[in-house]
């Protein structure tokens, strides 16, 4: 799909540019100048928008912060660690249970999907929080003896008041005899959650990777699943599929993740990365330091799954290649049945996407498998390499938007009239009020998994439910 230039009837470079210009008109000059490079018609081949810049103040961005990238995305999903939101109560409270990174284990015993916070008070700001941190690390170890490690995720004040969490972590790690990972992911750092991913990757590099080794002997089929956060169970679906083609998934990063397995990932033979944005850093590090190759793949929708399975197979011997073909042959008819059921109800429906990570490009194929057309896409916190990868997936001349403001999205929707908007919780009710069917595509709208062959039937069902719910037809009042 990423070769032939797809087009959408009625959308031309000019029409899209006109739409963008109209939206920009409303901005004050400075804001317009800043925003203009972030919005463009898709040229089909390159990164056509600017990205990873500071959010323009006052525009109602959907972005989060570095802490969100560290706590919510990278660290939070590691199930057997205690993750301390270090600072005032709010950050940890808002990110508590709101990302749907599902976890195995027993809550409070072997999994710690709770909210741990140092709950900074005025006095901690004035006198510093290092002592408190030291004490709470002891308390955590005492109350949760089976925790494999503790991460300390700094919130804004920590960096601003000059605390030295690194020193505390080092000392406590020694005293408590478990890894204590300091992560300087204060929310004011960088321009979005993206820096939080990077910082977290760096701390994994500095404190974790290479500190464990698997008991069992290495095998040529050892791989790690990187950049899958197990939203709604995605990891479980992806892992099952990779195992079905004969691979050993030694570690999952970081959905339903285990500290020890992550720490031993440097011995795998291949890193398979789904969310490139949040974890390419560590893949590169492992490549450089340990010579582990890595491969991007896409497990959304049967077309992309098939393509990805074959690409993965190429990295292995015939046994795996044969397995891949067997698996494809097994699931093809099942997926076709799903398509047969839903495609007639979704054919030609237009989708506008605005999410983060990998989905603005990775889900395009899944919609297309259902006969739908993606008419606009964008990322909250992407970089140029994300947009490079996006351009070929999208129909030519459709609008691409980076760090879009709610204002822009709303205007685009008015113009494009999508049949479905696929975005986040902050956008959901805006578009629903406009009468537009919507699915939350960060959280799978409390459904899932959407990854792999297990996921596609659920995805298809959900999209159909959203687009075709009869409730939409009631919006127009007879009065």
């Amino acid at each position: 799909m990423s070769n032939a230039a797809k087009r959408v009837e009625g959308i031309t470079k000019e029409s899209t540019q006109e739409m963008i210009d109209k939206v920009l008109e409303v901005y004050p000059e400075k804001g317009r100048k800043k925003r203009a490079p972030h919005l463009a018609p898709n040229d089909g081949v390159s990164s056509c928008v600017k990205s990873n810049r500071k959010t323009v103040p006052g525009v109602m961005s959907a972005r989060g912060c570095a802490y969100a990238g560290a706590k919510g995305v990278v660290w939070g999903p590691i199930r057997d660690m205690v993750h301390i939101s270090h600072g005032p109560v709010g950050c940890g409270w808002y990110s508590w249970g709101t990302r749907r990174n599902l976890m195995s284990g027993i809550n409070g015993v072997t999994n710690f999907g709770m909210q741990f916070t140092s709950d900074f008070q005025e006095k901690d700001i004035v006198y510093g929080g290092d002592k408190k941190l030291k004490q709470l690390l002891e308390e955590a170890k005492g109350l949760f003896p089976l925790a494999k490690g503790i991460s300390v995720l700094s919130e804004c004040p920590v960096g601003l008041i000059g605390d030295d969490i690194n020193a505390v972590a080092k000392q406590s790690a020694k005293e408590l005899d478990i890894p204590v990972i300091p992560c300087n992911c204060e929310g004011f750092r960088g321009v979005s959650q993206s820096l939080g991913h990077h910082i977290s990757n760096d701390t994994i590099r500095d404190f974790i990777i290479g500190t464990r080794e698997f008991a069992e002997p290495e095998s040529p089929y050892d791989i790690a699943l990187i950049g899958d956060y197990n939203i709604g169970g995605d990891v479980w679906s992806a892992k099952a599929l990779l195992e079905e083609i004969g691979l050993n998934v030694k570690a999952t990063w970081t959905g339903d993740g285990e500290l020890d397995r992550i720490a031993a990932t440097h011995t795998v033979k291949l890193n398979l990365i789904h969310c490139y944005r949040s974890m390419n850093y560590m893949c590169r590090v492992m490549e450089e330091k340990y010579g582990i190759p890595w491969l991007e793949f896409n497990f959304f929708g049967p077309s992309k799954i098939k393509e990805s399975l074959r690409a993965i197979g190429e990295r292995f011997d015939d046994r795996i290649k044969e397995n891949v073909e067997k698996v494809i042959a097994k699931y093809d008819p099942i997926m076709q049945a799903v398509i047969d059921e839903y495609r007639p109800r979704l054919e030609g429906k237009k989708v506008m996407i605005y999410v983060g990570g990998l989905r603005p490009r990775h889900t395009v194929g899944a919609y297309e498998d259902l006969g739908m057309v993606v008419v606009g896409t964008g990322y909250e916190f992407a970089h140029g390499d994300d947009y490079e990868r996006t351009s070929p997936e999208m129909p030519v001349d459709t609008v691409i938007f980076d760090d879009a403001s709610e204002f822009e999205l709303e205007k685009f929707a008015h113009q494009i009239k999508p049949d479905l908007v696929a975005s986040g919780i902050k956008e959901k009710y805006v578009f629903q009020k406009m009468g537009l069917p919507f699915r939350q595509m960060h959280s799978w709208d409390y459904s899932g998994p959407y990854h792999g062959y297990q996921g596609f039937p659920i995805f298809a069902r959900d999209i159909d439910m959203a687009v075709n719910s009869p409730t939409w037809s009631l919006i127009k009042s007879p009065f």
Binding site: M60, C91, Y94, Q115, C156, K426
Partner: protein, 489 residues
Amino acid sequence: MSNQLGLAVKPVTEYDDAEVKRVAEWINTEEYKEKNFARQALVINPAHACQPLGAELVAHAFEGTLPFVHGSQGCASYYRSTLNRHFREPAPAVSDAMTEDGAVFGGQNNLHEGLENAIALYKPKMVAVFTSCMPEIIGDDLTAFLKNARNKGIIPADMPTPYANTPSFNGSHIHGYDAMLLSILQTLTAGKQVEGRCTGKLNLIPGFDANTGNFREYKRILEAFGIPYTILGDISDVFDSPLDGTYRPYPGGTTLDDAADSINGKATLNLGPYSAAKTFSWVKDSYSGKHASLPMPMGVTKTDDFLKKLSELFGKPVPESLKEERGRAVDAMTDAHQYIHNKKFAVYGDPDQLLGYVSFLLEMGAKPYHILCSKGTKKLEKEIQALLDTSPYGAGCKIYINKDLWHMRSLLMTDPVDAMIGDTHGKFAARDAGIPLFRFGFPIFDRVNKHRYPIIGYQGVVNMLTEICNKFLDITDETCEDRFFEMMR
């Protein structure tokens, strides 16, 4: 052995089943409870958020008002998401997206640029500015920044821009609510007091309350009385707006004119003694007319007090329709008392609601057995204790101030109760204890429309007891042996 960074390399270990079982049992013990309650520094599963969340909520409660976070954009996203999830409604708010350089140069540029853009794009009538951590720590001078913005023409001359310092390392969401409300009222009423003028209206301060049904219920009650009113501020249409195909960023709220004229009110009644304390204290000194503060009208007695106060303030008798409603609520209570009598509850939440739960449960003959407020005061503890002391069903009930839901879990496992009342965050503890959680608090992320059913007033009594008793009956029907499965209950 060590890795490339010199860290020791150990084998990957799996959990030992026996050890897991031992710990899983241990965390339910009295011993663990004591260890847990000995915590000094670590907070686990607190039942409160930070100040700016409350500030945003009350900013939304005014006509055409854009909440504006001076701070990191991530903060704003967190507050908005929380409100979106609870109300299943939009929550338009902006931030000025401060980043590292703010730490060096301060946030004035961000604030100014942010105001310029926000006003152009979202065309508010008022911008309510409040802070997250960063500017609080670097010491941004909001007063000066906003004055400068006004002088530079960034803020239109007639646009009010109340602002509040809402540091997250102090108090909780209810204090941010209070601070922002105070500033909004101070800003809007400045210079509006007119000697001899009386609007004839009641100013009702609901306090931090994320139940839109409560607001509609207040209005219905006041309309039944025939008392003209201004609710300071009114989220009911803002967070429960019709779906008609048009998105409106400001679908309701207290009008700025009404808010401004509230200073000339006939009376001001505060129903959020804990969550609007500072505001009310200022109102008492500044507003014309009478002033009174009452607990949230939850349960029959507190509702009686509310109606008596209205009657007294406005010299109007309690309307027949409300007397009948009272009678119907009491009727529902007597009819259902046997399904809840002597049942033990664990309750947690914000102070104003917590007092309401306790009052309601005691009236039903139930025991508010574990009462927990993760951000409370000695005063609150005394007030709850005084309430407990009014009833034999308060005997043996204990109050836990500044404890969290991980403490609560220990209480539930060592001294079990029949049910829990609070917000969604208690669901893990409730599950471990095998008891139902009645979601009357804030936020509610996992059920629909709970915010549309009032829990104040007589109707609130009926709503609470209906949900509670019918759930207990569901449990009976679902868990009883076949031979005890019956037609009647």
